[in-house]
C-alpha cells in the first residue's frame, strides 16, 4: 500500500509521540511517582498507530492492557494530557484517577477501555459490533488482544458468535511473542496464531506488525469487509515488546540477542528510513516532528505532575447509577 507523504509523516509523528509517551511514564513508574504497574508497548508502535489510523472516531475501539499507544492516538489531541494524568492517578485524569494505566476509557471517541481480566473485552466487543448491526450504522469494532490472551475461552465464544452472525468485528491479535514469560509457541499448537481463525471460516492473516504500511493496508481491508457485511477478520500482527511484561520486569526469560534483533526492526526506524529514502523527506522535517513531540509530551507531563489527587470521597461515586453507597463519616 502506498501512503501519501503527508500521511506517512503524520503516522510517523504518531509513532514517535506514543514512543515518547511510554518512555516518560516508564521513567515516572520506575521512580515511584506513578502508582501500580504499567505495561509498556515500546517496539509495538506500528501495530497500534496503523490500526487506529484507519478508524473513525465513531468506530468502537477496545485497547488491551498494553494499549497506551492506541488510547492516546484514538483520543482528541486536547485530551491526551488527561490520559497521562490518569496514569498518574490524578483528579484531572480522563477517568478521574479511578482507573489508572489499565482502565482508560474515553467514550466520546469510543475508546471503550480495557478490562483487567484478559479476554473480557473480546466478548464485550461483540456487543458494540452487534449494536452497529441492530442500529444499522456502519461503525466497526476493533478489539486488540495478545498472543497470550488467545488462551482464554472467551476468544472462542466471541469468534464463534461473530463469525456465525457476521458481525463487523475485527480481532487485532498483537503477537509480541510472549505472554509474560511464556513464548506463544509453548502455549499454542498453531504455527501462526492466525491459523486459529481459519477453523471458524474467518479470513485470517499474519502480517509484519512493524511495517506501518502493511498494518494500515490489512486493517483497511478488514474494515471494508466488515462494512460490506461480510463479518469478522482476524489479523495477527507480528511484533515485539522491548521492555519486560511490566515496567520493572527484567525479562530474564528472553534468549540473548533476541531483543537486539528486534530493535533492528524498530517500526519507527523503519518508517524513518522509508521517509528519507522513498518519500524524499529531509532530516530537518524529521527533527521538527521530534521537537514537536517533545514539547507536546512535556506539556502532558507538567500537567500530570501539577494536578491534584482525587478526593477520596469520590471513591463511592458511580457504583450504581441510582443508589448511593455508604461512605465514611
Amino acid at each position: 500500500m502506498a501512503l501519501s507523504k503527508d500521511h506517512m509523516l503524520n503516522i510517523y509523528r504518531d509513532m514517535v509521540l506514543i514512543r515518547r509517551f511510554e518512555e516518560i511514564i516508564e521513567k515516572y513508574s520506575k521512580n515511584g511517582t506513578i502508582p501500580g504497574f504499567i505495561h509498556l508497548s515500546i517496539g509495538q508502535e506500528a501495530a497500534q498507530a496503523g490500526v487506529i489510523d484507519v478508524l473513525r472516531e465513531t468506530d468502537y475501539k477496545f485497547p488491551d492492557h498494553r494499549g497506551h499507544g492506541a488510547i492516546v492516538l484514538a483520543s482528541r489531541p486536547e485530551d491526551r494530557k488527561l490520559i497521562m494524568a490518569e496514569i498518574f492517578g490524578k483528579k484531572t485524569g480522563i477517568n478521574g484517577g479511578r482507573g489508572g494505566s489499565m482502565h482508560i476509557n474515553d467514550l466520546k471517541v469510543r475508546n471503550m477501555g480495557f478490562n483487567g481480566i484478559q479476554g473480557s473485552t473480546v466478548v464485550t466487543s461483540l456487543g458494540t459490533a452487534f449494536a452497529s448491526v441492530y442500529n444499522q450504522t456502519d461503525d466497526v469494532t476493533v478489539v486488540f488482544m495478545g498472543d497470550g490472551t488467545l488462551g482464554e475461552g472467551t476468544c472462542h465464544e466471541s469468534m464463534n458468535m461473530a463469525a456465525t452472525w457476521k458481525l463487523p468485528l475485527i480481532y487485532v491479535l498483537i503477537n509480541n511473542q510472549y505472554a509474560i514469560s511464556t513464548p506463544y509457541t509453548e502455549s499454542h499448537p498453531q504455527k501462526q496464531l492466525s491459523d486459529w481463525g481459519k477453523g471458524y471460516n474467518v479470513p485470517s492473516m499474519t502480517v509484519d506488525g512493524n511495517d506501518i504500511e502493511a498494518v494500515i493496508e490489512v486493517t483497511q481491508s478488514a474494515v471494508d469487509r466488515a462494512k460490506r457485511g461480510e463479518g469478522p477478520t482476524l489479523i495477527e500482527l507480528m511484533t515485539y515488546r522491548w521492555q519486560g511484561h511490566f515496567s520493572g520486569d527484567p525479562a530474564a526469560y528472553r534468549p540473548e540477542g533476541e531483543l537486539e534483533k528486534w530493535k533492528e526492526k524498530c517500526p519507527i526506524k523503519l518508517a524513518k528510513e522509508k521517509l528519507l529514502n522513498h518519500f524524499g523527506v529531509h532530516e530537518s522535517e524529521i527533527t521538527e516532528i521530534h521537537n514537536w513531540v517533545e514539547k507536546e509530551i512535556n506539556s502532558y507531563l507538567e500537567f500530570s505532575l501539577a494536578s491534584p489527587n482525587p478526593s477520596p470521597q469520590d471513591s463511592i461515586k458511580y457504583v450504581y447509577t441510582d443508589v448511593e453507597v455508604e461512605g465514611r463519616s
Partner: protein, 325 residues
C-alpha cells in the same frame, strides 16, 4: 378484579409489553427466540419481532459480554441464562464486567442489562440445576439482584429492571412458575430497593423471599392461631437490600427468623442477622433463627433433596422457641 395469570405468564407479558414500548429492548440467550425459551418464558416474542430475539450458541460468557457491549451503545438487552447455576460459567462477565462498568465509565455509561435466571431446587435436577446462587452475587457492589415471589411482583419488577440502568439479575424460582395471581394488564413498575411487608405482626419478624414467602405465610397463619403474630418481610430486591424496612420491623418485634433456601453458611440470612445485631442490638429480645437448606450440594433422589431443603416444622419450632426465650 384483575385477571389471574401465572408467574411465568406475568414475565412473558412484561417482556412483550416492554419490547412493544421500547425498541431498544431485545432478548438473547439459548433457545429464547424460535422456541420461546427452555421454560417457555419468551414465547411469542420472536414471531412478533424476529430481529429482536436471538438464539445463541451455548456461550454464556459471550451472551453476557455481548449484552454489556450492546448496553454501552444504549440498547437494553434482556439475556436469559436458563438455570442460574450457569452463572458460574459467565461469572467473570457478571462480576468483573457488568458490575463495574458504571464505576469504570464514571456513570457515563453502564451495563443496563437484565439477566434472567432460574434459581432454586425442587425439580429433582441435582447438583448443577438446583442451586440458590444469590450469595454468589450479593457481595459484588454494582449488581442488583431481584427476587419476586408473586406474578404481580414478577411483572412489575421486571419492567422496572428493564428500565433501570444497572445490571440486574432477575431471579425466577422454578417453584413459582405455575403460581397464579392477580396481575394488571397495563404496564406498571414496582420500586426497586424496596421490601414488601407481606403481613404485619408484633411478635416476630420473618424475612423470606421467593418460594419461601408462601412457607412463611403458612407458618404465620398457623402461629397466629397460637397467638403468635408474625410480621413477614419480603425483600424483593435482595441486593442492594432495603435495610430500613427490616430494621424497623425487628426494632418493633425484637425477634428475627429468616427462611432462606440455599446453604446456611454465608447465605444472605447471615447478612440480615448481622445487620440487625450491629444496628439495633438494644431492641433484641431473643436470638435470631435461620431456617435454611443444609450445607451440602443438592442431591437428586426426592427424599434426599427434600431433606436438604428448609423444613416447614423448623419454622414453627423456631418461632415458638423465640417466644419462650
Amino acid at each position: 378484579m384483575t385477571r389471574k395469570i401465572s408467574f411465568s405468564k406475568a414475565i412473558n407479558e412484561a417482556l412483550h409489553q416492554e419490547m412493544e414500548r421500547d425498541e431498544k429492548v431485545f432478548i438473547i440467550g439459548e433457545d429464547v427466540a424460535k422456541m420461546g425459551g427452555d421454560f417457555g418464558i419468551t414465547a411469542g416474542i420472536w414471531s412478533k419481532w424476529p430481529k429482536r430475539a436471538f438464539d445463541t450458541a451455548l456461550s454464556e460468557s459471550a451472551i453476557i459480554g455481548l449484552s454489556c457491549g450492546a448496553a454501552l451503545c444504549g440498547l437494553r438487552p434482556v439475556a436469559e441464562l436458563m438455570f442460574a447455576d450457569f452463572i458460574a460459567v459467565c461469572y467473570d462477565q457478571i462480576v468483573n464486567n457488568a458490575a463495574k462498568l458504571s464505576y469504570m465509565y464514571e456513570g457515563k455509561a453502564s451495563a443496563q442489562i437484565v439477566v434472567r435466571a432460574v434459581t432454586g431446587g425442587g425439580i429433582r435436577c441435582a447438583y448443577h440445576h438446583s442451586q440458590c446462587i444469590e450469595p454468589w452475587l450479593m457481595n459484588i457492589p454494582g449488581l442488583v439482584v431481584l427476587a419476586p415471589s408473586t406474578p404481580y411482583e414478577a411483572k412489575g419488577l421486571l419492567i422496572s429492571a428493564i428500565r433501570n440502568n444497572n445490571p440486574v439479575i432477575f431471579l425466577e424460582h422454578k417453584g413459582l412458575y405455575n403460581k397464579k395471581g392477580e396481575v394488571p394488564e397495563d404496564l406498571y413498575e414496582l420500586p426497586l430497593y424496596k421490601a414488601n411487608i407481606v403481613r404485619e405482626g408484633s411478635d416476630i419478624t420473618i424475612v423470606a423471599a421467593m418460594s419461601m414467602v408462601d412457607f412463611a405465610q403458612k407458618a404465620a397463619e398457623e402461629l397466629s392461631g397460637q397467638g403468635i403474630q408474625c410480621e413477614i418481610i419480603n425483600p424483593l430486591t435482595l441486593f442492594p437490600l432495603d435495610k430500613e424496612t427490616i430494621i424497623n420491623s425487628v426494632a418493633k418485634t425484637g425477634r428475627l427468623v429468616i427462611i432462606q433456601e440455599g446453604p446456611k453458611f454465608m447465605g444472605y440470612a447471615a447478612e440480615i442477622g448481622s445487620m440487625v445485631y450491629e444496628e439495633i442490638f438494644e431492641y433484641l429480645k431473643a436470638p435470631m433463627k435461620r431456617i435454611t437448606s443444609l450445607d451440602t450440594p443438592v442431591p437428586f433422589a426426592p427424599v434426599m433433596e427434600d431433606y436438604v431443603m428448609p423444613q416447614y416444622e423448623d419454622v414453627l419450632k423456631a418461632c415458638n422457641q423465640l417466644m419462650s426465650f
